[in-house]
């Protein structure tokens, strides 16, 4: 028997999930990222509904493993992770304070656009110096969710989170 002085409730589980960070963006938690869509708690069995940012993201397996380990340690008797694509994850789901955290970490936040094609022409401020004299070097980047940029003022490479 695991002895506990707190009774498991959804709030505690959300708090715990809020401490798990995205392995590729360590300043953001899975809750910040809106990867955790919902949780369900019946007795001590928990179901976590997640929505992946990019389905080919190699961090997904790590994220699932982390969720399971942390919630079992919290006292859940079982952890089931389900994936949903409805509605699909979108970068528009990120709150303003989360975008600010991204910027402070050196990643330009995703731009709002209804058409992905339009993101090619939307000016992006350098997260280091704020200049708008920046150029997209590639629609792709070091991870599936980012794109490569270059700042013509502070001569620094940086990444922008993809609009999706």
């Amino acid at each position: 028997m695991v002895e506990r002085d707190t009774i498991l409730e959804e709030r505690i589980i959300w708090e715990e999930l809020g401490k798990i960070t995205d392995p590729e963006i360590p300043v953001l938690s899975l809750v910040d990222m809106k990867i955790i869509r919902n949780i369900g708690l019946v007795d001590e069995k928990v179901t976590v509904l997640i929505s992946p940012t990019f389905v080919g993201c190699p961090a997904l397996e790590h994220i699932k493993h982390e969720i399971t380990t942390r919630l079992l340690a919290l006292g859940c008797s079982s952890v089931e992770i389900q994936t949903t694509y409805s509605p699909p994850w979108s970068s528009d789901m990120l709150d303003e304070n989360v975008r600010e955290k991204l910027r402070a970490f050196g990643i330009a936040p995703p731009v709002h656009a209804t058409e992905i094609q339009a993101t090619l022409t939307i000016p992006t401020a350098c997260p280091f110096c704020g200049s708008l004299r920046t150029t997209m070097e590639s629609e792709f980047g070091a991870t599936l969710c980012k794109q490569l940029f270059y700042c013509d003022d502070c001569l620094q490479s940086f990444e922008r989170f993809k609009t999706i």
Binding site: F54, V55, G56, C57, P58, Q82, T84, Y85, S86, P87, P88, W89, S90, I116, Q117, L120, E137, S138, E139, F140, G141, A142, L144, L148, K162, I164
Partner: protein, 266 residues
């Protein structure tokens, strides 16, 4: 998490469709990964490695849906089938060729994905509809990239034009094989899963012919936007598991590590 199919949906044809989608993504993803470290410039190395990772991720999503219907794991489907049991189209199995061929193949495939995933927006199977809605957003980046390259290289220098024209000549009949009729396809159309490969091919031709023409490339197709006809002979067989030895080589590479230690945990 198992899925109970409504009786209005034909099980076997649906499984054929999902497997064909998964196999196409798996093989093209693997072929694209062959550019990692070898692409002509760094940005293209990054791009094709990213696209490869996306496609492999998409194959995993389709294999997972297949697992929810059959209980067969994605690893079993990708790594334990022999080469003559895959139902990908032949187009995605051919060697990566030169960079011009790779770009052309990717473009022709991306436009087909756009049409195919878009058509699943009205699909009568909920899970398939939802997955397509997710994947089509990611695929947009691939299409943006490959289309941009086709436009710039087709109408670029004499050298780049020559490579791209050779790529169209080779890839176009192969690409038509993407629309080879599936076993049980009529039932899929009747039950509202999708509109059928002939419809998809017609939509695809309407999208690619104007783009290739604008890129100063000749395509063996005639007609206006209303309806475009082609006289080229499609390179079919893949959906019936009738492949060339190129797939045997590819699957040998793809499964090599898994077969050394099938029970290894990574």
């Amino acid at each position: 998490m198992n899925i109970e199919l409504p009786s209005s949906l034909p099980r076997e044809p649906l499984l054929n469709l999902i497997l064909a989608l998964a196999d196409d993504e798996l093989m093209l993803g693997h072929r694209n990964s062959e550019w990692t470290g070898y692409a002509p410039i760094l940005e293209e190395d990054i791009a094709f490695s990213n696209i490869a990772q996306d496609e492999l991720g998409h194959s995993l999503v389709w294999f997972t849906l297949y697992e929810q219907l059959t209980g067969k794991s994605p690893d079993a489907m990708a790594f334990e089938r022999t080469w003559n049991h895959f139902t990908c189209c032949r187009f995605v199995t051919y060697p990566k060729g030169d960079f011009g061929y790779t770009v052309m193949r990717q473009y022709l495939f991306d436009e087909a994905e756009k049409v195919r995933l878009g058509a699943f927006g009205q699909c009568s199977m909920q899970q398939l509809r939802e997955i397509a809605g997710k994947l089509i957003r990611e695929e947009t980046y691939h299409l943006m990239h490959s289309k941009g390259l086709v436009e710039r290289l087709g109408d670029g220098t004499m050298e780049s034009h020559r490579h791209m024209q050779a790529a169209v000549d080779e890839a176009f009949p192969q690409a038509l094989g993407m629309f080879e009729k599936l076993e049980g396809e009529d039932e899929l159309v009747q039950s509202g899963v999708f509109s059928g490969n002939d419809m998809l091919k017609a939509e695809w031709l309407k999208r690619i012919v104007p783009v290739l023409t604008l890129a100063t490339l000749r395509v063996p197709a005639t007609g206006q936007n209303g309806s475009i006809e082609t006289t080229a002979t499609p390179d079919e067989g893949g959906r019936r598991k009738d492949h060339t030895l190129h797939l045997k080589q590819l699957v040998g590479d793809l499964q090599q590590v898994y077969r050394i230690a099938p029970t290894a945990k990574w």
